[in-house]
Amino acid sequence: MTTTDLMPTRDLRFLLEEVHGLGDLLTADRYAHTDLDTLRSVLDLARDVAHDVFLPLAPKLDAEEPTLADGRVTVPEGTKTAVGAFVEAGFQATSFSLEDGGMQLPAMITEAVLAFFSAASAPVVSYPALAMAAAGMLRAHGSEELRQRYLAPMIEGRWFGTMALSEPQAGSSLADLTTAARPADDGTYRLVGNKMWITAADHDLTENIVHFVLARIEGAPAGTRGISLFLVPKILPDGTHNDVRVVGLNHKLGYRPAANTVFAIGDQGGAVGWLVGEPHQGLRCMFHMMNEARIAVGLSASAMGWAGYRHSLRYARERLQGRPLTSKDPTSPQVPLTEHADVRRLLLSQKALAEGGLALALWAARLVDEGRVAADRGDDATAGQLAMLLDVVTPIVKGWCSHYGVAANDEAIQVHGGYGYTRDYAVERIWRDNRLNPIHEGTNGIQAMDLLGRKVGAGQGAAAMLLMARLQDGIARGRAAGPVASALAGELAVAVERLATTTTTLLLGAPKDPAAFLANATPYLHLAGHTVVAWLWLEQVLAAEPGAEGDAFLRGKLAAARYFYRWELPRTAHWASLLAPIDRTPLDTDPDDL
């Protein structure tokens, strides 16, 4: 028997349809082959497979890590069942074009599908999700020959993929990677190097694995300008095993079903690789994939925040503990946890952070969609602006959603009391899984520096202006709407003003003292993230307020929005105070004094 209270489809449908206007997107030619009802069926199917297949397996697969013997990784049967159900249903192909054998669905739908699977088991779905991202990069940058050979099996889910960037000495600093590529006579390359942290570098889920490896061609310049991208298949076209081998597994806090490996490339003489894109342009190609992956990480982190919220809400409704403060009778029955205001605070906080984060990540997906639609009509100016806006939004999505997704999961554990600290309840597992998200795909510290150091200032401040224009537009519509929306719009206006002033002050001061400029990038990410998410809560209020009276779901949206504005948004004042003027405490502390 299925139960929907853990993953109600309405939560996502509300965001997609009422807040982000999925319906009007579908008028574009590129979506003429589908309609809203069909996309709802796609979501229903995702929810069913996630809920009925992934969720029941999640605790078992968390307990049963993949194993390594003779360089081969074996995953438990359950992982095969779940991944098989995902691929079998065709989820692998949602985002690819009809021409490439895909389904050409909006990015918003691909992300919403991922939200259900992440809420059920993010590490399990990471196998096909990584392959989807890798295939997307191959589609964008691979030669005709490579696409012919590798794209179809990856889109069909017969072969999976990896991204092999990190090395033991080169994590955040990819400029320091040393894996080397030597040209061979036949136009291919021989690669030698040691990679670290590579997810899914080996497994027995698919017959082949297509690795995308960053390496330096012999004689390439130092730093990021000398990095190239290579396609290195596990099984070569002639059927022989390439010179790649997993030499160790990392035993992790969470995300255990996803095999994470120490990966030796070419230790028997050199692995055969094909150059993807131009020489020395590897990082640029890889960032194409990483930008999508960063949105997916943010989305997934918020989806786990949402999962923790739903689990703890169910628990709080059932668990009887204590009596109302006004009750003097010790023999009166105990009340559900939801009767206590402090527990409701924990629940509202999770709801505000998780559903706010989902709204943010789905908005980023909407920008991807709008960009594609603009490009289809040959409207390069609009497409360019959307790309610039998306560049600003991406580190916010990755950093904000992952930070507050984990924060929400922490509160989910708290709602469960001692039971939340045991393996008998899902929330500790979700927290452990989610704790990866602030670390991988560029740590949140790196995201913050990317946002402030590169993205908001892009185009002489044009990028920041694009974001501000969206926020101002929301404020204007909010002021003209119902009483709840207009009150929140007034508060948002103050916060947006604060973000604008802080950003300008920072950008103007940057040339004088670059180190100080970036020293407090993290509070800047929180300031920007909280302001953008406050706007997205206003958008939710705009959609919810008219029908809220007779509808608990919509009333809940108003309550969570109010919570975010009362309890979270004021924190932006504190962050702004660390940025303008720059608080120099961390900057000036001598490492020896720590």
Partner: protein
């Protein structure tokens, strides 16, 4: 050979049903789905289609956009070739017999040889319609099947009976079968099929198109009200040492609950 299946779109098993304030109807809070027993019927119809390479038509009485969307996303996406959704204002207050007459007329019009239904819908739990359909069509009917073999026009069906006994029934088509849990494992649709289902034929005849009139479906028994069951009496806590509690429990089970 043509296969029919009857699919009712109902509230999901965990959706909360609530009688409306005036008791004239009930509201569903949650998702609507093709009922779980109907899902076994759908799967059996698709398996039959795969075996005989024949056509499958689904039949539903009444339905708005929600129902149509559900049928497209599930029944048609899973492989039914056409859906017939009978829509007529006169069906609003009908009863099981009215529904059965409507289904029988639609099935007859399509010319099916075998029809699968779920053993019951999970909202009203009436368990009446399939037997009535078979009777109206003059067909054989086997309820609660857990196994089925069809060879030519002959069938052999295994029924599940209470107490774990299985009954094997043989006969010839045409026949109506109702599906019990265990008959098969319903598959999930595939996404390309979900998308393609948008283009599959879905007909919405009214009663007249089936040769019926409003009078044919007028209810013989009408629902006069919906309401909530009386609140359950509070649990009772047994006191004393273990032996006293156990013997008190046995007494209660025997005398009050009457299960021992």
């Amino acid at each position: 050979m043509k296969v029919g299946l009857c699919a009712k779109v109902t509230a999901d098993t965990d959706a909360r049903l609530k009688a409306s304030a005036d008791g004239s109807s009930f509201e569903v809070n949650g998702k609507v789905v093709v009922g779980p027993y109907d899902a076994f019927a759908v799967e059996e119809a698709i398996k039959t289609k795969e075996k005989f390479k024949c056509e499958v038509v689904s039949f539903t009485v009444g339905g708005g956009d929600d129902v149509v969307a559900q049928l497209r996303g599930t029944v048609l996406a899973l492989g039914a070739d056409k859906a017939v959704v009978v829509s007529d204002p006169a069906l609003a207050g009908t009863d099981s017999l009215g529904v059965a007459r409507t289904l029988a007329a639609a099935i007859k019009k399509e010319g099916c040889d075998v029809v699968f239904c779920g053993k019951q819908a999970i909202d009203d739990d009436n368990v009446q319609v399939p037997a009535m359909v078979a009777e109206l069509l003059g067909w054989a009917q086997v309820s609660r099947i857990v196994e089925l073999e069809i060879e030519g026009t002959d069938f052999k069906a295994t029924r599940s009976m209470d107490g774990g006994v299985r009954e094997v029934v043989a006969g010839s088509l045409p026949a109506v079968f109702t599906a019990e849990r265990g008959l098969n494992t319903p598959r999930y649709p595939k996404l390309p099929a979900v998308i393609a289902a948008k283009k599959k034929p879905l007909e919405t005849p009214d009663l007249a198109a089936l040769g019926l009139s409003g009078g044919d479906v007028a209810a013989k028994a009408v629902t006069t009200a919906y309401g909530a069951p009386p609140e359950r009496p509070k649990g009772r806590k047994l006191e004393g040492d273990v032996d006293t509690m156990v013997s008190e429990l046995v007494r209660l089970l025997r005398e009050e609950v009457k299960v021992l």
